[in-house]
C-alpha cells in the first residue's frame, strides 16, 4: 500500500481530516483519564477492611433521657446479654465506632506522652474480649483482651489503657526493627503495653486525605459508657436477615427509653460498605457511561464522514477499478487512510491525555496516570477507527468499474 497518494488525496479534505483527528484526540484524552479514575475508585472500593463482613450486623443505639454513666453500664450489660441470647446470634460487643462507619475519633500514638511527637495517627476502637471473634479479626501475634481487663469509660474519664491491640501496619510503624509485642506505646499520657497484633483492621474513614494511615487502628479495652453506642453482632450468615428484622423489637422490649432509628438504626455490614463507597461507585458508573457514549459518538462520526468521502469519490473509485485496482486495493486504501488520520489523532490525544491528567492532579489531587492507560486507549481508538471505517470502505470496494463511465 502506497502512502503518498493517500496523503495527497487527504490534502483536499483538510477540514474533515482535522475534525476526525480532533475528535479522536479529545476522545482519547477523556476516555484514558476516565478509565484511570474508574480504576482508582475500584481499587479504593476493593480495599479489604480486615473484617469478616458477611453475617455482621450493626445496631446504633441512643439512650434517651441522659442516663448517668453507672446506669448506662448496667443498661449496656443487659443489652449485650439480651442480644447474645437471641437465636442466630453467635457473638456481640459494644463499641464507639467500626470500620467504614465514617465516624469516631483518631489519636496520635508514639513513644512519649508528648502529643507533638507522635509516630502515627491511629483510629481508636473501644473493644472487649469478644471483639476479635465478632469482627472475625486475625490475631497474628500475642493474645486477646481478658474479660477482667475491660473497663467502663464515662464521658469525662481520661483514656489511659494499660494494654492495647494494634494492627500489623501500626506495629511496623512503631517498631520497624522487630516485634512490637510486649513493648509500650503512648496513645494517652500513660504508657500502654501492646499485647496483641491483628493482621488488618481498616480505620472508620475512607476519605482520600486519610489514606496514608488507613490501616493504623488500635483496639482499646473499654466500654464507652456514653449515650450513643454501636452494637456489632456476629450472626450465622444465613440468618442475618432474620436477626436484622427482630433485633430492634427485641431491644425495645427490654427498655423503651432509647432511640434506634427505623430507617438506618439496624444495618448489615454490606449496607455499611455500600454507604461508605456510594460516591465512588456513582462516580465510576458515571465515568463508565460517559466513556461508552463518547466512544460510540466518535465511531458514528467516523462512519458519517467516511461514508461522505466514499460517496464523493465514487467516480474516482470506478476509474481506479477500471484501471485494474482490485477490491482489496480499494478496501485497503480507505482502511489505511483512516489509520493515518487516527494515528495523527492519537499522537495529539496522547499528549492531551497527559496534559489533562496533569491538570486533574493539580485540581483534584489525582495520581499520575499509568502509561498503560494511554497505550491501551491508543490501541482501542485505532481499532475503533478501523472497525468504524470498515462498512463504508466495504461499500467503496464494491463500486463497479462501470461507475467511471457514468456522469452522475
Amino acid at each position: 500500500m502506497q502512502i503518498s497518494p493517500i496523503l495527497a488525496a487527504l490534502r483536499y479534505h483538510k477540514a474533515g481530516v482535522v475534525l476526525i483527528a480532533m475528535q479522536i484526540a479529545l476522545t482519547l484524552a477523556i476516555v484514558c483519564n476516565a478509565m484511570f479514575i474508574i480504576h482508582q475508585r475500584l481499587v479504593r472500593m476493593d480495599k479489604p477492611s480486615g473484617v469478616e463482613e458477611s453475617g455482621l450486623l450493626v445496631v446504633k443505639n441512643e439512650w434517651a433521657g441522659k442516663p448517668a454513666t453507672g446506669q448506662i453500664a448496667s443498661l449496656m450489660a443487659a443489652d449485650l446479654d439480651t442480644l447474645r441470647k437471641m437465636p442466630g446470634v453467635a457473638n456481640v460487643y459494644a463499641t464507639n465506632t467500626y470500620p467504614l462507619s465514617n465516624g469516631g475519633f483518631a489519636n496520635g500514638i508514639g513513644h512519649s506522652p508528648d502529643k507533638r511527637n507522635y509516630v502515627s495517627v491511629t483510629a481508636v476502637y473501644f473493644s472487649d474480649e469478644n471483639t476479635l471473634s465478632t469482627l472475625g479479626l486475625k490475631l497474628v501475634e500475642g493474645r486477646n483482651f481478658n474479660a477482667d481487663e475491660i473497663n467502663g469509660l464515662g464521658d469525662n474519664d481520661k483514656i489511659a489503657p494499660a494494654v492495647i491491640i494494634v494492627t500489623r501496619e501500626l506495629a511496623r510503624r512503631l517498631y520497624p526493627d522487630g516485634s512490637a509485642l510486649g513493648k509500650t506505646a503512648y496513645i494517652s499520657n500513660e504508657p500502654s503495653i501492646i499485647i496483641g497484633i491483628v493482621d488488618r483492621l481498616q480505620i472508620p474513614w475512607v476519605d482520600n486525605s486519610m489514606a496514608r494511615w488507613a490501616d493504623c487502628s488500635t483496639l482499646l479495652p473499654f466500654r464507652n459508657l456514653v449515650t450513643i453506642t454501636h452494637y456489632l453482632i456476629r450472626t450465622q450468615p444465613e440468618e442475618i436477615e432474620d436477626v436484622a428484622t427482630r433485633v430492634r423489637a427485641t431491644l425495645y422490649a427490654t427498655q423503651r427509653l432509647r432511640v434506634i432509628r427505623p430507617k438506618d438504626g439496624v444495618k448489615t455490614f454490606a449496607q455499611v460498605r455500600a454507604a461508605a463507597y456510594k460516591s465512588d461507585r456513582g462516580m465510576a458508573i458515571l465515568m463508565g457511561v460517559i466513556s461508552v457514549i463518547l466512544v460510540a459518538t466518535t465511531a458514528a462520526g467516523i462512519v458519517g464522514l467516511a461514508s461522505f468521502w466514499v460517496g464523493q469519490r465514487r467516480k474516482q473509485i470506478g476509474v481506479r477499478r477500471a484501471l485494474g485496482a482490485t477490491r482489496q486495493d480499494i478496501l485497503g486504501y480507505f482502511l489505511t487512510e483512516n489509520l493515518l488520520i487516527c494515528m495523527a489523532g492519537v499522537v495529539l490525544g496522547g499528549l492531551l491525555a497527559i496534559g489533562l491528567n496533569l491538570w486533574l492532579m493539580k485540581q483534584f489531587e489525582m495520581e499520575r496516570i499509568a502509561p498503560g492507560y494511554v497505550l491501551a486507549g491508543v490501541a482501542m481508538l485505532l481499532l475503533l477507527g478501523q472497525c468504524a471505517v470498515f462498512a463504508p470502505a466495504w461499500r467503496a470496494s464494491h463500486v463497479p468499474p462501470v461507475e467511471a463511465t457514468r456522469s452522475v
Partner: protein, 434 residues
C-alpha cells in the same frame, strides 16, 4: 423569509434521516450530560441568602500556641468560648450571633411516640433577624432571654408538623433532654443551601429542627456535636468547654458598609494584639473576615466530585460538537451540486449561508429538546442517589433557558464552518462536473 428557510431546512433534514438523527442525538447527549452536571453544580454553588449574603461576615482569629506555626497559616475555622463571648458582647457590628450545634433527645408528650434525637442549633438572639429567618408563628427570643438562660425554643416547620400537626404551637411545651421548654416561634420555609452558617453537620439539606439559646444549652450541658479543635494540654472536656483551649463556636456578623468591614477587621486585629500582649494568644495577630460566598469557597463546600463531573461532561459536549461539525460538513458538502444550481439561478452566498445555518439551528432546537429530556432523566437519576445534596437537584427556569440557548448556540457554532465551506463553491464548476 425565515419560515421559508425553516421549511427548506426541514425538507433537507428529512432527506437523510439517519444522518439527521445522528446529529440530533449527538447534540442531545452532549447537552443532556452537561446540563445535568451543570445544574447540580449550579444548585451546590448557589447563594444561600441572595441579597443578604454580601453583608454577612465570618470573623476568624488565631488564639493557638506556637506549635505548627508558620507564615501564611490560616486561623482556626471556629472560635473559643472566651473570644466568642467577647466579640458577641462587644457589639461592634450591626448584628452578631454566636452558635454551635448538637443532637438533643426529644420526648414527645404523647406516650405512643418513642423519644427521638433531633438536631438543634444553640445560638443567640440576633440569629433570626440577621439571617432574615421567616416565621410562621411567633418570633425568636430576645437578648434578655439569652442573658437569663431562658428555657425557650424555636422549632422548624417540619417538627411543628410532626408534633403539633402544623398548628400554632407558640406557648406550648417542648421536652428536650428531660427539661421543659416553651415554644416561642415556629419557622416558615427556611432551608438555606448550602447550610452556610454551620457546615459541620453536612453542607446541604441539613436543617436543624430546634433552636435554643446558647446560654441555656451550656446551662443544661446539652451535647455539643461537630468539630472541637484543641491545642495545648487542657483536653476537650464536653462539660467544661467554656474553660478549655478549644475552638468550637461559629460567629457571624452583619456589616452593611465597606467602611464597617474595615473597621471590624481592625477591631479584630486590636483584640488579637491585646490578647497577644496579655500572653493569652501566643501567635501574632492573624485575622480573616470573609463574607458568605468567600467562606463557602474557602471551605470547599462544593464537592470536588461534582466539579470533576462537570468538567467531564463539558469535555463530552465538546467532542459531541466536533462530531456534529464533521457530520454537518459531510451533509452540506454532499449537496454541492444542488447549491451550485441555486447559486447559478441567482441565490446569493448570504442567502445560502443563512439557509444552511437555519438547518443547523433546527438541529440545535431538536437536540436541545432531546437534551432537556435527557437532563431531566439525569437529574432524576441524581435524586435517586443517597448523597445529601441529591434531593436538591432540580432544574429551574434559568437552567432551562440556558439549556436551549446552549444547544442552539452550540449547533449554530457547529454549522458555521460547514455552511461557509458549502456556500463558497463556484457554481460553474459544479454545473460543469454534472
Amino acid at each position: 423569509m425565515l419560515s421559508y428557510y425553516f421549511s427548506l431546512a426541514l425538507h433537507s433534514l428529512k432527506r437523510n434521516r439517519v444522518l439527521t438523527a445522528l446529529m440530533v442525538l449527538a447534540i442531545a447527549l452532549g447537552i443532556g450530560a452537561s446540563m445535568t452536571t451543570l445544574t447540580v453544580l449550579h444548585v451546590l454553588s448557589g447563594d444561600p441568602l441572595p441579597g443578604r449574603s454580601g453583608s454577612l461576615y465570618y470573623p476568624q482569629i488565631d488564639p493557638r500556641d506556637m506549635n505548627d506555626y508558620g507564615p501564611n497559616v490560616e486561623p482556626p475555622d471556629q472560635l473559643a468560648w472566651t473570644d466568642g463571648m467577647y466579640l458577641l458582647k462587644a457589639k461592634r457590628a450591626s448584628r452578631q450571633a454566636l452558635m454551635t450545634e448538637g443532637m438533643v433527645p426529644l420526648q414527645p408528650t404523647e406516650s405512643n411516640v418513642d423519644p427521638f434525637q433531633t438536631s438543634a442549633l444553640y445560638t443567640t438572639a440576633d440569629f433570626f433577624p440577621m439571617f432574615g429567618v421567616p416565621f410562621q408563628f411567633g418570633q425568636g427570643w430576645n437578648a434578655n432571654e439569652d442573658e437569663g438562660k431562658a428555657r425557650v425554643a424555636v422549632i422548624s416547620a417540619s417538627l411543628n408538623d410532626k408534633l403539633f400537626g402544623g398548628g400554632n404551637s407558640v406557648g406550648k411545651e417542648l421536652r428536650l433532654q428531660e427539661t421543659s421548654f416553651r415554644i416561642v416561634g415556629v419557622l416558615g420555609d427556611w432551608h438555606p443551601n448550602p447550610h452556610f452558617y454551620q457546615l459541620y453537620m453536612g453542607s446541604y439539606a441539613s436543617d436543624e429542627d430546634v433552636y435554643v439559646p446558647l446560654s441555656t444549652s451550656r446551662d443544661l450541658k446539652m451535647e455539643h456535636d461537630g468539630s472541637t479543635d484543641c491545642w495545648g494540654n487542657t483536653g476537650g472536656d464536653q462539660d467544661n468547654l467554656e474553660r478549655v483551649n478549644c475552638t468550637w463556636l461559629q460567629f457571624w456578623v452583619q456589616l452593611d458598609k465597606p467602611a464597617d468591614v474595615e473597621a471590624y477587621k481592625s477591631f479584630l486585629t486590636h483584640y488579637s494584639q491585646d490578647q497577644h500582649a496579655m500572653g493569652r494568644f501566643e501567635r501574632p495577630p492573624n485575622v480573616r473576615l470573609r463574607n458568605v460566598m468567600q467562606w463557602l469557597d474557602y471551605q470547599h463546600v462544593v464537592p470536588s466530585d461534582a466539579r470533576l463531573q462537570t468538567w467531564l461532561s463539558v469535555g463530552f459536549l465538546v467532542v459531541c460538537l466536533v462530531n456534529t461539525v464533521g457530520l454537518m460538513l459531510s451533509k452540506f458538502m454532499r449537496r454541492s451540486a444542488e447549491l451550485g444550481v441555486r447559486r447559478a439561478l441567482g441565490a446569493s452566498q448570504r442567502a445560502l449561508f443563512g439557509q444552511l445555518l437555519m438547518e443547523s439551528g433546527v438541529i440545535g432546537l431538536a437536540g436541545g429538546t432531546g437534551g432537556l429530556l435527557l437532563a431531566m432523566l439525569g437529574l432524576w437519576l441524581v435524586r435517586q442517589q443517597p448523597a445529601g445534596y441529591a434531593s436538591l437537584a432540580h432544574m429551574d427556569v434559568s437552567m432551562l433557558l440556558a439549556t436551549f440557548t446552549l444547544a442552539v448556540l452550540a449547533s449554530l457554532l457547529a454549522g458555521v464552518l460547514p455552511a461557509w465551506r458549502a456556500c463558497r463553491i463556484t457554481p460553474a464548476l459544479q454545473l460543469k462536473a454534472n
